[in-house]
Symmetry: C3
Subunit: 340 residues, 3 copies
Amino acid sequence: MNFIGSHILSVSQFKRADIETVFNVADQMIPYANRERVTRVLEGAILGNMFFEPSTRTRVSFGCAWNLLGGEVRETSEVKASSIVKGESFYDTARVLSGYSDAIVMRHQVEGSVDEFATASRVPVINGGDGSNEHPSQALLDLYTIKKEMEGRGKQVDGLRIALIGDLRYGRAVHSLCRLLCLYDDIHFSLVSPPELKLPSIYLDEMKSHGHECLESAQLQSGIAHADILYVTRTQEERFPSKEEADKYKGLFRLNQTIYTENCEPNTVIMHPLPRDSRGDARELDDDLNENPNLAIFRQTDNGVVIRMALFALILNVADQVEKTARDVNWYTAGRFSSQ
Amino acid sequence: MNFIGSHILSVSQFKRADIETVFNVADQMIPYANRERVTRVLEGAILGNMFFEPSTRTRVSFGCAWNLLGGEVRETSEVKASSIVKGESFYDTARVLSGYSDAIVMRHQVEGSVDEFATASRVPVINGGDGSNEHPSQALLDLYTIKKEMEGRGKQVDGLRIALIGDLRYGRAVHSLCRLLCLYDDIHFSLVSPPELKLPSIYLDEMKSHGHECLESAQLQSGIAHADILYVTRTQEERFPSKEEADKYKGLFRLNQTIYTENCEPNTVIMHPLPRDSRGDARELDDDLNENPNLAIFRQTDNGVVIRMALFALILNVADQVEKTARDVNWYTAGRFSSQ
Amino acid sequence: MNFIGSHILSVSQFKRADIETVFNVADQMIPYANRERVTRVLEGAILGNMFFEPSTRTRVSFGCAWNLLGGEVRETSEVKASSIVKGESFYDTARVLSGYSDAIVMRHQVEGSVDEFATASRVPVINGGDGSNEHPSQALLDLYTIKKEMEGRGKQVDGLRIALIGDLRYGRAVHSLCRLLCLYDDIHFSLVSPPELKLPSIYLDEMKSHGHECLESAQLQSGIAHADILYVTRTQEERFPSKEEADKYKGLFRLNQTIYTENCEPNTVIMHPLPRDSRGDARELDDDLNENPNLAIFRQTDNGVVIRMALFALILNVADQVEKTARDVNWYTAGRFSSQ
């Protein structure tokens, strides 16, 4: 694909070579995200960080990625603040807002809304999540983390053995990750979920058609054995018909250090798209894993910054110029990143 | 008027020469808003973008204008976030906040609140809308758009034939625009509204006293013939005693491509202060006009950026210095602006 | 204490020498806060300004202080916007957010929350207020103001006579100020409050154990005589069991110009942590004091900016570099600050 000026709306846009382009640029961004170097390559550029659904993590991550390239961020963080409540169409909102910024990140709870918005926008749009549909930068950061963790263990993504655990039915992050992994070779999927929350067949069929191994199970202990990566998910409460319905599945597949030690191979990586639910009856990933060096969940969010920097740099065509305006960081930063 | 250090609170502050000063500086801002050039003239300056009433468009437009001059923005976007709920006076709020920034934009639903605030502020204040009272930058961007569109057609503001359509009673934007047009010569107003939503006589009398022609009508088709500009407005629901009362007038004067073709002269410009209501029963400007090149509504919002840049540059006395710190844009921007 | 890389969580961290370090750096920040000079020392650095409880003043003050050092601000201003509502622990929130910024300011209504957050954070955290517990930068700016005002009158903090007036039971600002004043010599406290809202004995005992004079009284007129500083507080409605309970004490100790003139020594300084309640039945500081040059309440908030700049500069170890990247301000700033 040609990144320059294009929208990033769906993981379906990416071929394997595109992903490798993103990951190579992301690697170049590490010294900046890690606060060793400062670049001003986007000094004077403005990001419209338009979150029409509450979010702290993703909103701040995108804003931070833009700031790290030297640009400014204008922001909205709730639907009430918008002209949309006065009956404005996505078309109008997009035409107007795209006159204010050089790129836009948009999150909105309506599926397809970001596509509609992008069609009318005069500047590149990145989908920051449209309901249960797409959230491509999350899938990219997950895959980037898998690649990095595998490389740290002398392996690669091809041949990966991954266990996907929990709510595989409503989990947008899981769906997109499955899509991206289809672009790689010889993936072994262990799909662990309650029968009612199984991975939809549209994804399962696609994975099988690419020749990947897919084993479904409702049993955590056997499902996580022989995996390189455990990808644990939260029950997506907000996508269920009712809270009561969602609560039935809360805490069903809780991973803790004992279960990990007894069932997993050494150095099995633990991932989660976050936030994890840490309330007593839910907690799908126990706090006793926090000191486990294989817990990669915060390396995932750190990696989100460099992935988003890479996407911005590619669509605005400044990847080659980042170093030109760079210098060493002059303030205290010791011990900042757990990442890498 | 002397712009340096002054508040911008009302369209009544402006004489024709002042408006021309603003428009000349706005013209200089086009390469920056259009992302051909970057300036850092306000690098280190801080805008307090204080919106005590929900707004996305206007808030982001002001913030973007400041960023385009190189400055930083600190922001509030809702009344709940404020000390005002703990009984703080506008005087105190103004004294405190004006210690944090180099200029303030304020929106508040209470009429006269921004005047009261400005009196106590130690830095220049721009009124971003105080209830149904004033919103001077909207009126300036409307007039600037009229001037630009007329010039593109070999005409000028003097001698303008303009049809004002819809809710002329509660529409703040219409009122302020009428005030500004009084400063020009030989304006022909066609005022099209339901009898109950006619332009208040205070404005009508002022227009007539300046020798302008004012024809009132409740008939869309005849009202829009022979106009250079159609200025269509939304029913200002939020100003009506009740939603039911407002709904009576929704969709009364709907302009679409057929009506336009049958009644208007070629190249008649279509304007709207936005947001336009695109819900089925309301839509005062039909979507089928979106491809009409005379639809100037997004050129209006684009023009809002340069008008706000001009106001900031004038009150902070940096208009002459903008180019000194400027350079060419180094990132992808092709196809960004529909404006001009 | 060693400031570099450390959290600022409580006034208890500070010894007298530490406070003097902060105040010396704050003094160096005056030309920047006063818009005579611009520095870019933190250009490229990002502050996570995380306010999980509504606040305009404190949030904007911290953000402004960071901007004045040249850095960028990413922000949250309400708990709803947060993953915390999805059951995320402070540990996780801190791990994630500390990957996005170079320092974090956090406000949260839960006492102790900021400590818990700081323990997990990978970057320095400043407590911006955790419920009724701590808000150290407020105490520091109050003490800095006292020092400045005393110096302007040829006096110093040692030997200070200060009247604390109003809700001394729930007022977080008063408690922290008392703690800090214990580090100085020979302070004379006049504690004026309704019997039910007396200063808690934990503070009183500490003050006495340092040899300071503490006189308690329920009588305003006699309590404010012979004071150098009057420190007036708002009834902390939100800390009371009910609004009715709080209302009983509203307006009990109202200071106005007449009472001031009749009872105070010339040039007695009037302070207040703000916001002051200006509603008719409350107003603890009457508007007729607004022209009194001894009213220092807006000098306090101005001083808050330089104190926060100093804290940032110290924990990020750039205090010595501020001037290196500095230049004169090039925009209009006349008459900006009442401070000094």
